[in-house]
Protein backbone atom coordinates (compact mmCIF):
# COMPACT_ATOMS: atom_id res chain seq x y z
CA UNK A 1 0.00 0.00 0.00
CA UNK A 2 2.74 2.42 0.90
CA UNK A 3 4.57 1.43 -2.26
CA UNK A 4 1.52 2.48 -4.25
CA UNK A 5 1.22 5.73 -2.32
CA UNK A 6 4.87 6.44 -2.98
CA UNK A 7 4.42 5.69 -6.65
CA UNK A 8 1.39 7.96 -6.85
CA UNK A 9 3.26 10.75 -5.14
CA UNK A 10 6.10 10.45 -7.62
CA UNK A 11 3.47 10.36 -10.35
CA UNK A 12 2.01 13.63 -9.17
CA UNK A 13 5.44 15.21 -8.99
CA UNK A 14 6.22 14.08 -12.51
CA UNK A 15 2.72 15.01 -13.66
CA UNK A 16 3.32 18.60 -12.66
CA UNK A 17 6.21 18.66 -15.09
CA UNK A 18 4.04 17.11 -17.76
CA UNK A 19 1.58 19.92 -17.19
CA UNK A 20 4.25 22.56 -17.51
CA UNK A 21 5.66 20.90 -20.59
CA UNK A 22 2.23 20.82 -22.15
CA UNK A 23 1.36 24.41 -21.25
CA UNK A 24 3.81 25.83 -23.74
CA UNK A 25 2.63 23.54 -26.52
CA UNK A 26 -1.00 24.26 -25.69
CA UNK A 27 -0.42 28.00 -25.81
CA UNK A 28 1.27 27.82 -29.19
CA UNK A 29 -1.30 25.49 -30.65
CA UNK A 30 -4.22 27.34 -29.18
CA UNK A 31 -3.09 30.74 -30.33
CA UNK A 32 -1.26 30.10 -33.57
CA UNK A 33 -2.90 26.81 -34.53
CA UNK A 34 0.60 25.56 -35.10
CA UNK A 35 1.62 22.10 -33.98
CA UNK A 36 5.24 22.49 -33.00
CA UNK A 37 6.39 18.93 -32.62
CA UNK A 38 9.87 20.17 -31.85
CA UNK A 39 8.55 21.23 -28.46
CA UNK A 40 10.20 18.27 -26.76
CA UNK A 41 13.51 19.23 -28.30
CA UNK A 42 13.14 22.70 -26.84
CA UNK A 43 12.57 21.10 -23.45
CA UNK A 44 15.69 19.05 -24.01
CA UNK A 45 17.69 22.17 -24.82
CA UNK A 46 16.42 23.83 -21.65
CA UNK A 47 17.61 20.83 -19.71
CA UNK A 48 21.04 21.04 -21.26
CA UNK A 49 21.13 24.73 -20.53
CA UNK A 50 20.56 24.06 -16.86
CA UNK A 51 23.04 21.21 -16.87
CA UNK A 52 25.86 23.21 -18.38
CA UNK A 53 25.19 26.23 -16.21
CA UNK A 54 25.47 23.92 -13.24
CA UNK A 55 28.43 21.97 -14.52
CA UNK A 56 30.48 24.94 -15.66
CA UNK A 57 29.47 27.68 -13.26
CA UNK A 58 27.96 25.81 -10.38
CA UNK A 59 24.71 27.70 -10.84
CA UNK A 60 21.88 26.13 -8.90
CA UNK A 61 19.33 24.86 -11.41
CA UNK A 62 16.42 26.70 -9.84
CA UNK A 63 18.38 29.89 -10.27
CA UNK A 64 19.37 28.99 -13.79
CA UNK A 65 15.67 29.24 -14.63
CA UNK A 66 16.22 32.98 -14.63
CA UNK A 67 18.81 32.56 -17.37
CA UNK A 68 17.34 29.70 -19.35
CA UNK A 69 13.83 31.07 -19.63
CA UNK A 70 14.70 34.41 -21.24
CA UNK A 71 17.19 32.70 -23.55
CA UNK A 72 14.59 30.15 -24.53
CA UNK A 73 12.08 32.93 -25.11
CA UNK A 74 14.52 34.69 -27.39
CA UNK A 75 15.13 31.46 -29.27
CA UNK A 76 11.38 31.09 -29.60
CA UNK A 77 11.09 34.53 -31.10
CA UNK A 78 13.79 33.67 -33.62
CA UNK A 79 12.23 30.34 -34.51
CA UNK A 80 8.89 32.04 -35.02
CA UNK A 81 10.33 34.74 -37.23
CA UNK A 82 12.42 32.31 -39.21
CA UNK A 83 10.07 29.37 -39.62
CA UNK A 84 6.57 29.66 -38.32
CA UNK A 85 5.76 33.21 -39.35
CA UNK A 86 5.34 31.89 -42.84
CA UNK A 87 3.27 28.93 -41.71
CA UNK A 88 0.66 31.05 -39.93
CA UNK A 89 -0.23 32.72 -43.16
CA UNK A 90 -1.68 29.51 -44.50
CA UNK A 91 -5.28 28.47 -44.08
CA UNK A 92 -6.20 26.29 -41.11
CA UNK A 93 -5.75 22.78 -42.46
CA UNK A 94 -2.54 23.31 -44.41
CA UNK A 95 -1.29 25.32 -41.47
CA UNK A 96 -1.48 22.51 -38.97
CA UNK A 97 -0.03 20.06 -41.43
CA UNK A 98 2.81 22.28 -42.57
CA UNK A 99 3.66 23.18 -39.01
CA UNK A 100 3.80 19.48 -38.21
CA UNK A 101 6.28 18.91 -40.99
CA UNK A 102 8.33 21.99 -40.20
CA UNK A 103 8.37 21.09 -36.53
CA UNK A 104 9.40 17.58 -37.45
CA UNK A 105 12.35 18.82 -39.49
CA UNK A 106 13.28 21.26 -36.77
CA UNK A 107 13.14 18.51 -34.17
CA UNK A 108 15.49 16.34 -36.19
CA UNK A 109 17.93 19.20 -36.61
CA UNK A 110 17.91 20.09 -32.93
CA UNK A 111 18.26 16.45 -31.98
CA UNK A 112 21.22 15.94 -34.29
CA UNK A 113 22.80 19.14 -33.04
CA UNK A 114 22.43 18.00 -29.46
CA UNK A 115 23.96 14.64 -30.17
CA UNK A 116 26.84 16.32 -31.92
CA UNK A 117 27.44 18.90 -29.22
CA UNK A 118 26.62 17.00 -26.07
CA UNK A 119 26.91 13.33 -27.10
CA UNK A 120 24.11 10.90 -26.50
CA UNK A 121 24.96 10.35 -22.86
CA UNK A 122 22.45 11.03 -20.16
CA UNK A 123 23.23 13.96 -17.94
CA UNK A 124 21.80 14.70 -14.53
CA UNK A 125 22.23 17.57 -12.17
CA UNK A 126 23.27 16.42 -8.73
CA UNK A 127 22.85 19.20 -6.25
CA UNK A 128 23.54 18.72 -2.58
CA UNK A 129 19.88 18.50 -1.80
CA UNK A 130 19.08 16.29 -4.74
CA UNK A 131 19.02 12.98 -2.96
CA UNK A 132 17.36 14.11 0.22
CA UNK A 133 13.79 13.62 1.14
CA UNK A 134 11.32 14.55 3.81
CA UNK A 135 9.79 11.53 5.45
CA UNK A 136 6.02 11.69 5.75
CA UNK A 137 4.82 8.65 7.55
CA UNK A 138 5.91 5.71 5.46
CA UNK A 139 6.58 7.64 2.27
CA UNK A 140 9.34 10.02 1.39
CA UNK A 141 8.97 13.40 -0.29
CA UNK A 142 11.97 14.00 -2.48
CA UNK A 143 12.99 17.62 -1.92
CA UNK A 144 14.32 18.44 -5.36
CA UNK A 145 11.23 17.20 -7.15
CA UNK A 146 8.95 18.87 -4.63
CA UNK A 147 10.51 22.22 -5.27
CA UNK A 148 10.25 21.49 -9.00
CA UNK A 149 6.53 20.95 -8.63
CA UNK A 150 6.21 24.19 -6.73
CA UNK A 151 8.07 26.00 -9.48
CA UNK A 152 5.87 24.42 -12.11
CA UNK A 153 2.73 25.46 -10.25
CA UNK A 154 4.08 28.98 -9.89
CA UNK A 155 4.84 29.27 -13.57
CA UNK A 156 1.41 27.99 -14.52
CA UNK A 157 -0.24 30.51 -12.20
CA UNK A 158 1.88 33.28 -13.67
CA UNK A 159 0.93 32.19 -17.16
CA UNK A 160 -2.73 32.16 -16.26
CA UNK A 161 -2.53 35.59 -14.66
CA UNK A 162 -0.69 36.92 -17.69
CA UNK A 163 -3.31 35.62 -20.10
CA UNK A 164 -6.27 36.79 -18.04
CA UNK A 165 -5.15 40.09 -16.60
CA UNK A 166 -2.53 41.74 -18.75
CA UNK A 167 -3.11 43.71 -21.90
CA UNK A 168 -0.93 41.55 -24.09
CA UNK A 169 -2.24 38.39 -22.50
CA UNK A 170 -5.76 39.38 -23.48
CA UNK A 171 -4.52 40.40 -26.89
CA UNK A 172 -3.07 36.92 -27.32
CA UNK A 173 -6.34 35.31 -26.27
CA UNK A 174 -8.25 37.57 -28.62
CA UNK A 175 -5.95 36.72 -31.49
CA UNK A 176 -6.38 33.05 -30.65
CA UNK A 177 -10.12 33.30 -30.90
CA UNK A 178 -10.41 35.50 -33.98
CA UNK A 179 -7.29 37.08 -35.33
CA UNK A 180 -9.06 39.37 -37.77
CA UNK A 181 -11.33 40.79 -35.11
CA UNK A 182 -8.26 41.24 -32.92
CA UNK A 183 -6.44 43.09 -35.67
CA UNK A 184 -9.45 45.35 -36.07
CA UNK A 185 -9.01 46.48 -32.48
CA UNK A 186 -5.53 47.66 -33.21
CA UNK A 187 -3.76 44.54 -32.00
CA UNK A 188 -0.57 43.76 -33.88
CA UNK A 189 -1.34 40.12 -34.45
CA UNK A 190 2.13 39.26 -35.63
CA UNK A 191 3.58 40.59 -32.44
CA UNK A 192 1.00 38.70 -30.41
CA UNK A 193 1.94 35.50 -32.20
CA UNK A 194 5.64 36.08 -31.68
CA UNK A 195 5.04 36.73 -28.01
CA UNK A 196 2.93 33.61 -27.64
CA UNK A 197 5.54 31.49 -29.34
CA UNK A 198 8.32 32.99 -27.24
CA UNK A 199 6.41 32.34 -24.04
CA UNK A 200 5.67 28.81 -25.15
CA UNK A 201 9.35 28.21 -25.75
CA UNK A 202 10.32 29.80 -22.46
CA UNK A 203 7.95 27.44 -20.67
CA UNK A 204 9.50 24.55 -22.53
CA UNK A 205 12.91 25.70 -21.39
CA UNK A 206 11.68 25.89 -17.82
CA UNK A 207 10.25 22.39 -18.04
CA UNK A 208 13.61 21.24 -19.34
CA UNK A 209 15.43 22.75 -16.40
CA UNK A 210 13.14 20.94 -14.00
CA UNK A 211 13.50 17.69 -15.90
CA UNK A 212 17.28 17.92 -15.75
CA UNK A 213 17.08 18.60 -12.05
CA UNK A 214 14.82 15.83 -10.95
CA UNK A 215 15.55 13.25 -13.60
CA UNK A 216 18.03 13.38 -16.42
CA UNK A 217 18.51 14.87 -19.85
CA UNK A 218 19.78 13.37 -23.08
CA UNK A 219 19.02 14.06 -26.74
CA UNK A 220 16.56 11.19 -26.70
CA UNK A 221 14.14 12.87 -24.31
CA UNK A 222 13.03 15.23 -27.07
CA UNK A 223 10.61 12.86 -28.76
CA UNK A 224 9.53 11.45 -25.43
CA UNK A 225 8.52 14.82 -24.03
CA UNK A 226 6.87 15.93 -27.25
CA UNK A 227 4.63 12.90 -26.97
CA UNK A 228 3.92 13.61 -23.29
CA UNK A 229 3.02 17.18 -24.06
CA UNK A 230 0.77 16.09 -26.91
CA UNK A 231 -0.97 13.54 -24.72
CA UNK A 232 -1.69 16.12 -22.04
CA UNK A 233 -2.94 18.67 -24.56
CA UNK A 234 -5.30 16.10 -25.99
CA UNK A 235 -6.51 15.01 -22.57
CA UNK A 236 -6.94 18.48 -21.16
CA UNK A 237 -8.08 20.37 -24.22
CA UNK A 238 -7.08 23.87 -25.10
CA UNK A 239 -7.83 27.18 -23.51
CA UNK A 240 -6.90 26.87 -19.87
CA UNK A 241 -3.44 26.87 -18.37
CA UNK A 242 -4.78 25.42 -15.15
CA UNK A 243 -6.69 22.74 -17.00
CA UNK A 244 -3.55 21.74 -18.85
CA UNK A 245 -1.66 21.48 -15.59
CA UNK A 246 -4.37 19.30 -14.13
CA UNK A 247 -4.21 17.12 -17.25
CA UNK A 248 -0.51 16.67 -16.68
CA UNK A 249 -1.04 15.54 -13.12
CA UNK A 250 -3.71 13.13 -14.30
CA UNK A 251 -1.30 11.61 -16.78
CA UNK A 252 1.39 11.33 -14.14
CA UNK A 253 -0.97 9.49 -11.82
CA UNK A 254 -2.27 7.28 -14.60
CA UNK A 255 1.28 6.28 -15.43
CA UNK A 256 2.10 5.60 -11.81
CA UNK A 257 -0.97 3.43 -11.42
CA UNK A 258 -0.21 1.56 -14.59
CA UNK A 259 3.36 0.97 -13.48
CA UNK A 260 2.16 -0.29 -10.12
CA UNK A 261 -0.36 -2.64 -11.69
CA UNK A 262 1.36 -3.87 -14.82
CA UNK A 263 4.99 -3.24 -14.13
CA UNK A 264 7.25 -0.34 -14.96
CA UNK A 265 7.90 -1.41 -18.51
CA UNK A 266 4.40 -0.42 -19.59
CA UNK A 267 4.39 2.97 -17.94
CA UNK A 268 4.51 4.82 -21.24
CA UNK A 269 1.93 2.64 -22.92
CA UNK A 270 -1.05 3.79 -20.89
CA UNK A 271 -0.50 7.40 -21.83
CA UNK A 272 -0.11 6.65 -25.51
CA UNK A 273 -3.19 4.43 -25.64
CA UNK A 274 -5.25 6.97 -23.70
CA UNK A 275 -4.03 9.60 -26.10
CA UNK A 276 -5.06 7.64 -29.14
CA UNK A 277 -8.46 6.75 -27.73
CA UNK A 278 -9.27 10.32 -26.80
CA UNK A 279 -8.10 11.53 -30.20
CA UNK A 280 -10.37 9.09 -31.96
CA UNK A 281 -13.33 9.66 -29.67
CA UNK A 282 -13.30 13.24 -30.85
CA UNK A 283 -12.99 12.97 -34.62
CA UNK A 284 -12.51 16.68 -34.97
CA UNK A 285 -9.25 16.19 -33.22
CA UNK A 286 -8.55 17.89 -29.97
CA UNK A 287 -11.24 18.90 -27.53
CA UNK A 288 -13.48 21.35 -29.30
CA UNK A 289 -11.89 24.72 -29.47
CA UNK A 290 -13.97 27.01 -27.31
Amino acid sequence: MTALAQQLLLGVLLGGLYGLAAAGLSLVFGVLRVLNVAHGELIMLGGYGAFWLFDLFGLDPFLSLLVVMPLAGALGGLLYAGLFAYVVRLGEEPRIRTSLLVGFGLALCLHALAVRLFTADERAITTTYAGRGIPLGAIVLPIGRLVSLAVAVLLILLLDAFLQRTRWGQAIRAAAEDWEAAALQGIDVRRAYTLAFAIGTALAGAAGVLVATGYSVSPAIGLEWTLKALIVVVLAGLGSALGTFAGGVVLGCAEALSAALFGGAYREVVGLLLFFCVLVARPQGFFGRP
Partner: protein, 239 residues
Amino acid sequence: MLEVWQLDAAYGELRALAEVSVRVEPGEIVALVGSNGAGKTTLLRSIAGLTRPRAGRIRWRNEDLGHLPPHKVVERGVAMVPEGRRLFGHMTVEENLGLGAFTRRARGERSASLARVYEIFPRLAERRRQRAGALSGGEQQMVAIGRALMTRPALLMLDEPSLGLAPRVVEALLEVLATIHQTGVAVFLVEQNVRAALGLAHRGYLLAHGRVVGEGSGAGLLGDPEVRRAYLGPLALER
Protein backbone atom coordinates in the same frame (compact mmCIF):
# COMPACT_ATOMS: atom_id res chain seq x y z
CA MET B 1 -10.97 62.33 -45.85
CA LEU B 2 -11.34 58.76 -47.04
CA GLU B 3 -10.76 58.38 -50.71
CA VAL B 4 -10.96 55.06 -52.51
CA TRP B 5 -9.90 55.31 -56.09
CA GLN B 6 -10.34 52.69 -58.82
CA LEU B 7 -10.07 49.78 -56.48
CA ASP B 8 -9.73 46.29 -57.87
CA ALA B 9 -9.91 43.29 -55.61
CA ALA B 10 -10.12 39.59 -56.23
CA TYR B 11 -10.22 36.23 -54.46
CA GLY B 12 -8.12 33.99 -56.61
CA GLU B 13 -9.80 34.02 -59.99
CA LEU B 14 -12.96 35.65 -58.73
CA ARG B 15 -13.06 39.37 -59.28
CA ALA B 16 -14.79 40.99 -56.32
CA LEU B 17 -14.32 44.67 -57.02
CA ALA B 18 -13.73 46.51 -60.27
CA GLU B 19 -12.70 50.14 -60.49
CA VAL B 20 -14.54 51.14 -57.36
CA SER B 21 -14.26 54.74 -56.30
CA VAL B 22 -15.94 56.11 -53.20
CA ARG B 23 -15.24 58.86 -50.75
CA VAL B 24 -16.27 59.91 -47.30
CA GLU B 25 -15.87 63.50 -46.16
CA PRO B 26 -15.52 64.54 -42.53
CA GLY B 27 -18.84 64.74 -40.75
CA GLU B 28 -20.71 62.69 -43.32
CA ILE B 29 -22.78 59.58 -43.09
CA VAL B 30 -22.24 57.67 -46.30
CA ALA B 31 -24.12 54.51 -47.21
CA LEU B 32 -23.05 51.75 -49.58
CA VAL B 33 -25.88 49.48 -50.53
CA GLY B 34 -26.10 46.41 -52.65
CA SER B 35 -27.31 42.87 -52.57
CA ASN B 36 -25.43 39.80 -51.45
CA GLY B 37 -22.16 39.22 -53.24
CA ALA B 38 -22.00 42.74 -54.59
CA GLY B 39 -18.60 43.22 -53.02
CA LYS B 40 -19.52 45.41 -50.07
CA THR B 41 -17.62 43.38 -47.53
CA THR B 42 -14.60 43.15 -49.80
CA LEU B 43 -14.47 46.90 -50.04
CA LEU B 44 -14.54 47.38 -46.29
CA ARG B 45 -12.00 44.65 -45.74
CA SER B 46 -9.69 46.28 -48.24
CA ILE B 47 -9.93 49.62 -46.51
CA ALA B 48 -9.43 48.02 -43.12
CA GLY B 49 -6.31 46.23 -44.30
CA LEU B 50 -7.58 42.66 -44.04
CA THR B 51 -7.43 42.10 -47.77
CA ARG B 52 -4.87 43.42 -50.19
CA PRO B 53 -6.36 45.02 -53.30
CA ARG B 54 -5.07 44.13 -56.73
CA ALA B 55 -5.09 47.66 -58.03
CA GLY B 56 -6.24 51.13 -57.11
CA ARG B 57 -5.61 53.40 -54.19
CA ILE B 58 -6.99 53.95 -50.72
CA ARG B 59 -6.15 57.27 -49.14
CA TRP B 60 -7.01 58.37 -45.67
CA ARG B 61 -6.27 61.95 -44.68
CA ASN B 62 -3.85 62.09 -47.56
CA GLU B 63 -1.98 58.98 -46.52
CA ASP B 64 -1.88 55.84 -48.58
CA LEU B 65 -3.47 52.98 -46.62
CA GLY B 66 -2.87 50.39 -49.29
CA HIS B 67 -0.20 48.25 -47.68
CA LEU B 68 -0.76 48.88 -44.04
CA PRO B 69 -1.63 45.99 -41.75
CA PRO B 70 -5.03 46.26 -40.04
CA HIS B 71 -3.74 47.40 -36.67
CA LYS B 72 -2.00 50.35 -38.26
CA VAL B 73 -5.19 51.37 -40.04
CA VAL B 74 -6.91 51.40 -36.67
CA GLU B 75 -4.13 53.51 -35.21
CA ARG B 76 -4.84 56.11 -37.84
CA GLY B 77 -8.46 56.41 -36.84
CA VAL B 78 -10.39 54.09 -39.12
CA ALA B 79 -12.40 51.46 -37.28
CA MET B 80 -14.55 48.69 -38.68
CA VAL B 81 -17.40 46.74 -37.16
CA PRO B 82 -17.18 43.48 -39.09
CA GLU B 83 -20.05 41.51 -40.46
CA GLY B 84 -21.41 39.06 -37.95
CA ARG B 85 -20.05 41.07 -35.04
CA ARG B 86 -17.20 38.66 -34.27
CA LEU B 87 -16.96 39.29 -30.60
CA PHE B 88 -14.56 37.47 -28.33
CA GLY B 89 -17.27 35.22 -26.99
CA HIS B 90 -15.39 33.93 -23.99
CA MET B 91 -14.52 37.31 -22.66
CA THR B 92 -16.88 39.57 -20.78
CA VAL B 93 -18.53 42.59 -22.31
CA GLU B 94 -16.16 44.85 -20.46
CA GLU B 95 -13.12 42.86 -21.56
CA ASN B 96 -14.29 43.04 -25.16
CA LEU B 97 -14.74 46.78 -24.90
CA GLY B 98 -11.45 47.14 -23.09
CA LEU B 99 -9.61 45.44 -25.90
CA GLY B 100 -10.90 48.10 -28.23
CA ALA B 101 -8.68 50.58 -26.44
CA PHE B 102 -5.57 48.65 -27.33
CA THR B 103 -3.66 51.25 -29.29
CA ARG B 104 -1.68 53.82 -27.39
CA ARG B 105 -3.87 56.65 -28.59
CA ALA B 106 -7.02 54.92 -27.49
CA ARG B 107 -5.54 53.65 -24.25
CA GLY B 108 -4.97 57.17 -23.00
CA GLU B 109 -8.66 57.94 -23.10
CA ARG B 110 -9.86 54.53 -22.15
CA SER B 111 -12.03 55.40 -19.15
CA ALA B 112 -13.62 58.32 -20.92
CA SER B 113 -14.34 56.15 -23.94
CA LEU B 114 -15.80 53.42 -21.80
CA ALA B 115 -18.03 55.89 -19.98
CA ARG B 116 -19.25 57.21 -23.31
CA VAL B 117 -20.00 53.72 -24.62
CA TYR B 118 -22.04 52.90 -21.52
CA GLU B 119 -23.86 56.17 -21.97
CA ILE B 120 -24.80 55.34 -25.52
CA PHE B 121 -25.61 51.74 -24.63
CA PRO B 122 -26.93 51.69 -21.07
CA ARG B 123 -27.86 48.05 -21.44
CA LEU B 124 -24.21 47.12 -21.79
CA ALA B 125 -23.42 48.75 -18.47
CA GLU B 126 -25.87 46.37 -16.87
CA ARG B 127 -24.29 43.42 -18.61
CA ARG B 128 -20.67 44.43 -18.34
CA ARG B 129 -19.53 41.29 -16.54
CA GLN B 130 -21.43 38.84 -18.65
CA ARG B 131 -19.78 36.63 -21.23
CA ALA B 132 -20.19 38.32 -24.57
CA GLY B 133 -21.22 35.07 -26.18
CA ALA B 134 -24.29 34.88 -23.95
CA LEU B 135 -25.84 38.13 -25.15
CA SER B 136 -28.67 38.55 -27.62
CA GLY B 137 -28.01 39.55 -31.22
CA GLY B 138 -28.91 43.16 -30.65
CA GLU B 139 -26.78 43.40 -27.52
CA GLN B 140 -23.86 41.79 -29.29
CA GLN B 141 -24.16 44.38 -32.02
CA MET B 142 -23.97 47.03 -29.34
CA VAL B 143 -20.79 45.51 -27.99
CA ALA B 144 -19.32 45.31 -31.48
CA ILE B 145 -20.04 48.98 -32.14
CA GLY B 146 -18.91 49.96 -28.66
CA ARG B 147 -15.69 48.05 -29.16
CA ALA B 148 -15.01 49.93 -32.37
CA LEU B 149 -15.77 53.22 -30.66
CA MET B 150 -13.20 52.41 -28.02
CA THR B 151 -10.53 52.75 -30.68
CA ARG B 152 -11.48 56.45 -30.90
CA PRO B 153 -12.05 56.46 -34.61
CA ALA B 154 -12.55 59.43 -36.88
CA LEU B 155 -14.30 57.12 -39.33
CA LEU B 156 -16.52 54.25 -38.27
CA MET B 157 -17.25 51.61 -40.90
CA LEU B 158 -20.02 49.09 -40.33
CA ASP B 159 -20.58 45.93 -42.35
CA GLU B 160 -24.25 45.03 -42.37
CA PRO B 161 -25.00 45.85 -38.74
CA SER B 162 -28.71 45.23 -39.21
CA LEU B 163 -28.23 41.61 -40.25
CA GLY B 164 -30.30 39.30 -38.14
CA LEU B 165 -31.86 42.05 -36.06
CA ALA B 166 -35.53 42.74 -35.51
CA PRO B 167 -36.89 45.95 -37.13
CA ARG B 168 -37.34 47.65 -33.80
CA VAL B 169 -33.72 46.93 -32.92
CA VAL B 170 -32.60 48.20 -36.31
CA GLU B 171 -34.35 51.50 -35.65
CA ALA B 172 -32.60 51.81 -32.33
CA LEU B 173 -29.36 51.03 -34.11
CA LEU B 174 -29.91 53.82 -36.61
CA GLU B 175 -30.57 56.25 -33.80
CA VAL B 176 -27.33 55.20 -32.17
CA LEU B 177 -25.45 55.77 -35.40
CA ALA B 178 -26.97 59.23 -35.66
CA THR B 179 -25.86 59.95 -32.09
CA ILE B 180 -22.36 58.75 -32.82
CA HIS B 181 -22.27 60.88 -35.91
CA GLN B 182 -23.17 63.92 -33.85
CA THR B 183 -20.04 63.46 -31.78
CA GLY B 184 -18.00 64.12 -34.88
CA VAL B 185 -17.34 60.62 -36.15
CA ALA B 186 -17.88 60.05 -39.85
CA VAL B 187 -19.85 56.92 -40.64
CA PHE B 188 -19.51 54.60 -43.61
CA LEU B 189 -22.45 52.25 -43.50
CA VAL B 190 -22.57 49.19 -45.70
CA GLU B 191 -25.95 47.54 -45.83
CA GLN B 192 -28.36 45.24 -47.57
CA ASN B 193 -31.16 47.04 -45.80
CA VAL B 194 -31.39 49.77 -48.40
CA ARG B 195 -34.22 51.73 -46.87
CA ALA B 196 -32.59 51.99 -43.47
CA ALA B 197 -29.18 52.89 -44.84
CA LEU B 198 -30.26 55.47 -47.40
CA GLY B 199 -32.77 56.93 -44.95
CA LEU B 200 -29.98 57.76 -42.53
CA ALA B 201 -27.21 58.74 -44.91
CA HIS B 202 -26.27 62.07 -46.41
CA ARG B 203 -24.88 60.38 -49.48
CA GLY B 204 -25.01 56.92 -50.89
CA TYR B 205 -23.45 54.54 -53.41
CA LEU B 206 -25.00 51.59 -55.14
CA LEU B 207 -22.78 48.58 -55.60
CA ALA B 208 -23.61 45.72 -57.92
CA HIS B 209 -21.33 42.91 -59.11
CA GLY B 210 -18.31 44.71 -57.77
CA ARG B 211 -19.00 48.00 -59.53
CA VAL B 212 -20.40 51.31 -58.41
CA VAL B 213 -23.57 51.69 -60.42
CA GLY B 214 -25.08 54.72 -58.74
CA GLU B 215 -24.26 57.66 -56.56
CA GLY B 216 -26.25 60.45 -55.04
CA SER B 217 -27.75 61.93 -51.93
CA GLY B 218 -29.42 59.53 -49.54
CA ALA B 219 -32.85 60.94 -50.05
CA GLY B 220 -32.33 61.24 -53.78
CA LEU B 221 -31.37 57.63 -54.21
CA LEU B 222 -34.18 56.50 -51.98
CA GLY B 223 -36.68 58.42 -54.06
CA ASP B 224 -35.31 57.21 -57.39
CA PRO B 225 -37.84 54.80 -58.95
CA GLU B 226 -35.12 52.69 -60.56
CA VAL B 227 -33.44 52.21 -57.22
CA ARG B 228 -36.69 51.44 -55.55
CA ARG B 229 -37.52 48.85 -58.12
CA ALA B 230 -34.13 47.20 -58.06
CA TYR B 231 -33.62 47.12 -54.34
CA LEU B 232 -36.91 47.60 -52.62
CA GLY B 233 -39.04 45.25 -54.63
CA PRO B 234 -42.25 45.82 -56.64
CA LEU B 235 -44.31 46.65 -53.56
CA ALA B 236 -42.14 49.68 -52.89
CA LEU B 237 -43.40 51.38 -56.05
CA GLU B 238 -46.85 51.44 -54.57
CA ARG B 239 -45.85 53.85 -51.83
